[in-house]
């Protein structure tokens, strides 16, 4: 017998005795299963407001709490100037990014040498870059976070190895809450999911020394989100 069969056998045997479901009382029908419990999650999670304006507002507040920098920009021209401003402020020398409609635009505007990760890259070179610029799958109003996958954001490392992560999002990518974000992933990718899906909620942080917040533990110290 393989170890797999042994473990599954022990599980089946253990489950011969039934355990009562939490909250079930004798004589009452048990609460419905098959996701009924989490399908209603939206009704219990923090509320998000109905209109787009409210949700952008909430996203901005949450992002500020997380110490991420969020800017809602009116046009692509504004995006270009916001990026070049950042480039000059932080003296970027090398940029890493990936192919994409807005990221192409951003790289052109910056006029700096760009490491594109789409077709493989040298890790040491990526580590030397000042900033990783990626697109994303969604912005989540409820949490102030960004949803990326290795397909939408140039691989697994680009959004986490350089010290500054700049996210480029389109207005219509604003998603109300977490249940909506999971629905979006299902709809966009299932069954062929990207091998990495990541909810990034603020810049990398730690509280391991006296529970005091420090940004940039291993991932980016700065997270900037531009939305056009």
């Amino acid at each position: 017998m393989t170890e797999r069969e042994k473990i599954l056998g022990r599980i089946r045997e253990a489950l011969q005795t039934k355990a009562t479901m939490p909250g079930a009382h004798e004589g009452e029908p048990s609460p419905a299963l098959a996701g009924a419990s989490t399908n209603q999650a939206r009704a219990w999670l923090p509320s998000v407001g109905a209109s787009e304006a409210e949700q952008f507002d909430l996203f901005a507040r949450n992002a500020a709490d997380l110490k991420a920098d969020f800017q809602l920009l009116a046009s692509r021209e504004d995006l270009k100037s916001a990026l070049t401003r950042l480039r000059d402020q932080e003296h970027w020398q090398r940029v890493a990014s990936h192919r994409g409609e807005i990221s192409d635009l951003a790289c052109q505007a910056l006029g700096l040498p760009v490491l594109l990760t789409d077709r493989g890259y040298d890790v040491q070179t990526l580590e030397q870059c000042d900033v990783g610029i990626t697109e994303c799958d969604a912005l989540i109003a409820q949490t102030g976070g960004v949803l990326v996958t290795n397909r939408s954001a140039g691989g697994r490392a680009l959004s986490v190895l350089p010290p500054h992560h700049v996210v480029l999002a389109r207005r219509e990518q604003l998603t109300a809450d977490l249940p909506a974000a999971f629905a979006l992933l299902q709809q966009k990718y299932a069954p062929d999911f990207p091998s990495m899906i990541s909810f990034i909620t603020g810049p990398s942080r730690t509280g391991d020394i006296e529970r005091i917040l420090v940004l940039g533990a291993h991932g980016p110290r700065k997270l900037t989100i531009f939305c056009v």
Partner: protein, 464 residues
């Protein structure tokens, strides 16, 4: 008394009297309850969310075989290699064999309590592999050759000064004692390690049966890097970590963050469904997932306490536990400390050796109230006590209760006992707590309430 009990008692007495230790823990946890309550209040209904989470976990654990099979089929379909380990020894051997096959030298690890459970680092180091913990807290306790103090905050018992001295001694680099500077030292040390490590090792928080994914929750980005850069990735996960549906994470991720650290969401919540796929630009070429039983199926067989397998290891019950806060994490001598550790350790390592943990509780129920998946922790502590004494009754305890039964059932004996009590209690006060006191075990730290001058029976008789 076995050595686990006496060690526990010695350490507990020492730590509970160590004011400095208590101060450090109090400082570390001071903000926790405030921010957690604020985040809980942001939920439209935290209680309904808890109920839903409990039911979902119940569903997962009570159909564990079905969910595991679905999970594994999906993982394997995308090229992940799945291994099954009945115990720690098998898991260690599986992992060591992968490292040998890959001719690996160095391993970068992100936080995994399962690896603590099977003492993985020690085994790998003995074979000559270099293992580096990348989570800052784990890195600190690794440098000190200590187990983690807390399942979520491994180094919460240390002050910045101690960490500075440690870095100075071990790394020769500690510019100051500010948390920023110290964190940056670790960041610098670790950067090259990620790039040069042959193998990345991670734990996991959830496994999704529906889509065949492993979900990892972390704040630092170290697990993200561990799963991105090395050529081979290994993930060790307890079999109970399964959730039925992808969408269940929409509830569990914010609840884990809220209960564990008072965050709306942990910084990185990442779902992996395979090694690097065709057309993808990075990620490990090989991914091994090791499913660990290690007596979880024994806990599963106990229907009364099966819900202890619902635990998502958020650490909330440790944070609120008056015992944990006073005796500290290392006193337990277990991988999982605090209330949940006291509940599950007797199942994982033997009831008679570890039953004392279930007695180290005031049964205040703070743990049960804090638990996001509504595990009935404090009743499980009582059940462990009951099971332990049913399996191995204590001779003197039984004798004492038998005598009490006879005395209490016979009015003549009872009034005699009352008289003896009246006569002797004033003398007991003179020897209270000293070795001469027959009730010393009890009176050492407590007062015996004075026996009233008039008993209820006398009062009833005389009341006209």
């Amino acid at each position: 008394m076995n050595s686990f009990v006496s060690d526990f008692k010695t350490r507990a007495t020492e730590k509970a009297g160590d004011l400095r230790h208590r101060q450090v823990i109090r400082t570390a946890l001071r903000g926790y309850e405030i921010v957690r309550d604020k985040r809980k209040a942001a939920f439209q209904s935290w209680e309904s969310a808890r109920q839903a989470a409990a039911v979902t976990k119940w569903e997962a654990v009570n159909h564990l075989d079905t969910h595991l099979k679905a999970l594994v089929a999906k993982l394997e379909a995308r090229g992940t290699k799945v291994h099954w380990a009945s115990n720690g020894e098998q898991a260690r051997e599986i992992i060591a064999q992968i490292l040998r096959d890959k001719q690996a030298r160095s391993i970068i690890k992100s936080k995994a309590m399962t690896s603590e459970e099977i003492h993985l680092n020690h085994a790998l180091e003995k074979e000559g592999f270099t293992v580096v913990e990348s989570d800052l807290g784990e890195f600190i306790v690794q440098l000190r050759h200590e187990p983690p103090y807390h399942i979520v905050f491994p180094s919460m018992h240390l002050t910045r000064g101690e960490i500075k001295d440690l870095f100075q001694r071990e790394l020769g680099d500690a510019p100051s004692d500010t948390p920023e500077d110290l964190t940056m030292v670790a960041r610098r040390v670790m950067r090259q390690k990620y790039i040069t490590a042959d193998v990345g090792f991670t734990g996991a928080n959830f496994a999704i049966a529906e889509t065949g994914m492993i979900s990892i929750t972390e704040n630092e980005g170290n697990a993200r890097l561990t799963a991105a850069l090395p050529k081979t990735m290994i993930t060790l996960i307890g079999i109970e970590k399964v959730l039925p549906r992808f969408a269940d994470l929409a509830l569990f991720l914010p609840m884990l963050a809220t209960a564990g650290a008072g965050q709306p969401m942990t910084c990185y919540n990442t779902m992996y469904s395979g090694p690097r796929q065709p057309g993808e630009c990075d990620g490990p070429e090989e991914w091994h997932v090791v499913l660990l039983d290690n007596r979880r199926t024994e806990l599963l067989a106990d229907a009364e306490q099966r819900d202890a397998l619902h635990c998502i290891r958020c650490g909330a019950c440790l944070n609120v536990c008056p015992i944990f806060r006073n005796v500290g994490g290392h006193t337990y001598g277990t991988t999982y400390s605090g209330p949940v550790g006291s509940v599950i350790t007797p199942h994982l390592r033997g009831l008679q050796e570890w039953k004392h943990l279930s007695k180290a509780s005031s049964l205040c129920g703070a743990c049960t109230e804090a638990c996001p998946v509504k595990i009935d922790l404090h009743h499980h502590l009582l059940q462990n006590r009951r099971n332990a004494s049913a399996a191995e009754p204590a001779f003197f305890e039984r004798l004492a209760f038998q005598i009490f039964g006879i005395v209490a059932n016979e009015p003549a004996f009872w009034s005699l006992a009352k008289k003896i009590g009246w006569l002797t209690q004033p003398w007991q006060r003179l020897v209270k707590g000293s070795p001469l006191d027959p009730a010393r075990a009890w009176t050492k730290t407590r007062d015996l309430p004075p026996q009233p001058r008039e008993s209820f029976k006398d009062w009833w008789r005389n009341r006209q």
